[in-house]
Assembly symmetry: C2
Amino acid sequence: MQSLIDIRARISAGTLTPAGALDLCREAIAAREPALKAFVAIDAAPAIPESGPLAGIAVGVKDIIDTADLPTQMGSAIYEGWRPRADAAVVARLRALGAVVLAKTTTTAFASLDPTQTRNPHDPGHTPGGSSAGSAAAVGAGLMPLALGTQTGGSVIRPASFCGCAAIKPSFRLIPTTGVKTYSWALDTVGLFAAGVGDLAYALAALTGRAGITAPATASNPRIAVVRQDFAQAPGPESVEALERARAAAEAAGATVFDLTLPPELASAWERHATIQDFEARQALAWEYDRHRDRLAPLVRGHLDAGAAITPAAYDDARRHAHRARRLLKDLFAEFDAILTYSAPGPAPETLASTGDARFNRLWTLMGVPCVNVPVPGFRLPVGVQVIGRFGDDGRALAVAALVEGALRG
Amino acid sequence: MQSLIDIRARISAGTLTPAGALDLCREAIAAREPALKAFVAIDAAPAIPESGPLAGIAVGVKDIIDTADLPTQMGSAIYEGWRPRADAAVVARLRALGAVVLAKTTTTAFASLDPTQTRNPHDPGHTPGGSSAGSAAAVGAGLMPLALGTQTGGSVIRPASFCGCAAIKPSFRLIPTTGVKTYSWALDTVGLFAAGVGDLAYALAALTGRAGITAPATASNPRIAVVRQDFAQAPGPESVEALERARAAAEAAGATVFDLTLPPELASAWERHATIQDFEARQALAWEYDRHRDRLAPLVRGHLDAGAAITPAAYDDARRHAHRARRLLKDLFAEFDAILTYSAPGPAPETLASTGDARFNRLWTLMGVPCVNVPVPGFRLPVGVQVIGRFGDDGRALAVAALVEGALRG
């Protein structure tokens, strides 16, 4: 993988130019993209800023995120050839920082569940995950140092786990969703993929103008609560082993680690994630559903059909459960710095017909808390663990994730 | 003005067809629109559904709200001739209910403060208010029975007060903002303009699929807290008199009315409205600001300049104040059914160079609570009062507003 921090250090040292950094991406793309199929559009001759905190950083942008200079096709025939007028807020910000939007990356239709053409960079017979399939695969395959995705259920953390890269789903609305196609306005969250946790912290600090994200006031011996999410079906053996290894490594690195069973209110919220998601999706995609239902991919169409049957009363009830769970989780965080849990039920399934299961991600999206995927080395196919921080404290989540990452690398 | 409920009753009774209802609008438009200038686009030959709860209802849609069949130009030269791919969620919903999107209405550039060409229907030398200028003027002038606006500071309630129509800014996100140009994601709220409170309730119940909005479980003798918002500069004599009249009328109609001074935490939140608004606007409109700053209208450009100077720490502080005030206001609502306060500092100012002052609206937008403008009869130019309900209880806010409206009509 290409490390954003390494590239920036080489540019700062004068041993690499921004144009040279882009050439490295183009070489990697030429070698791997024909089989990987992570992109739906590439900018053949982008402007390459000479300065800025992200100068020389090529970015892949999930194709539900508006770009004025490249098509934005939502993974759907309904948007074939569509060109928005403006860049999404996060894309404009990337450009202002000197980054180069080099490619649009594949997305499942409207960031739902219908698989894309993209292959897992570690084994082409396995899914890269979804919905941010192309972004995770592009970073995991080393095509570029940074990519944008979005998560409504588990669409950042799960594909990062499957593709073996680091990723963060930040606190809700820390990165604006303006110009990002809406699926569920209460859940949709823009996230980042990069080679390592330090790369994520550098990019998120720059994007948000929050220097503190790279220098959080964290104790060097964090308290970590290990959560197994017993309300969800148990994971496979690789994920169990990955969590054990991460736990042991963190403890060896000085963390205080203990087990935590979440109170039942959090399971109740988790059960209601789909109610909120599908009720909102049916409204957010009303034009597509009413005018082009027959052109919708089957899985997203099924979710919208389900959404049409959800009553406002059921939706309100789900929101109340989520609100209660958020307040409870906030109180729980008084006792620890981070939660450590599964990123996914296992490595990427051996199929291209499914993007995998988001059951270990949904609660945290609904809670709006920052989640970081940390790859755990030593498996044939990538397996990650998830480090979760309190709402609004993305810096601490990243600091704990960096400790886990470092401890696992030994 | 055209009453939505009347039109629907006549259509149900068979004395008016949907096409006939549209003809009434066209006649009114032919008579008044040349001087009023409320529209930026009209659909010359729209499809007119024969059935649905809003069949026969022509709607004006503020021109920051996406329409697939008509241009959406944001009140800005930057979007001249722009055609979105999809309808906004609320527009698709209107169409599904049988309504006809007849016209796009003027908006200040990006729903900020630069005046539009629209005149006040009650006196062409006075502003119609903003930013939803065209929607308020079109309904106030009787061109159509329903229009959509948005409020980030006071852009629904203020122009409704100036143009003499009823309006609701519903609870935050009760109507989705998907497909609505973002200014501030924490504040932007889609609202409705109509002739009377009953018309608003009918339309909001249909739009949201919440029948309870038209039949709230409200005591017939509501408790009303009169709030003068002393933290803001005092209003002019007409607004003081309008509030007194509304208060006396409500009392005579059986309401229990008392004065309430808001705790200082609400004033602290009010003071920080612009911090949240401008910080977010600078990000939401990053593409426009970075690429087309010289083509931005001067007042919106000034706000974006101001937004660029706001630190994340100041923004976070403002959000914490708002959060605290919201929880406090929720507790206060245990003691009453609604707040009664000013809609605006006075009638529409005699100028076309300003859209008026939103100082009596900002707190309530920030709190996310439903606000209803009720016109108070008997002034040369329209003056309204504002009935405010608790978050999520738009039905009760409308029921109290209906009581005030009925009491004022005697």
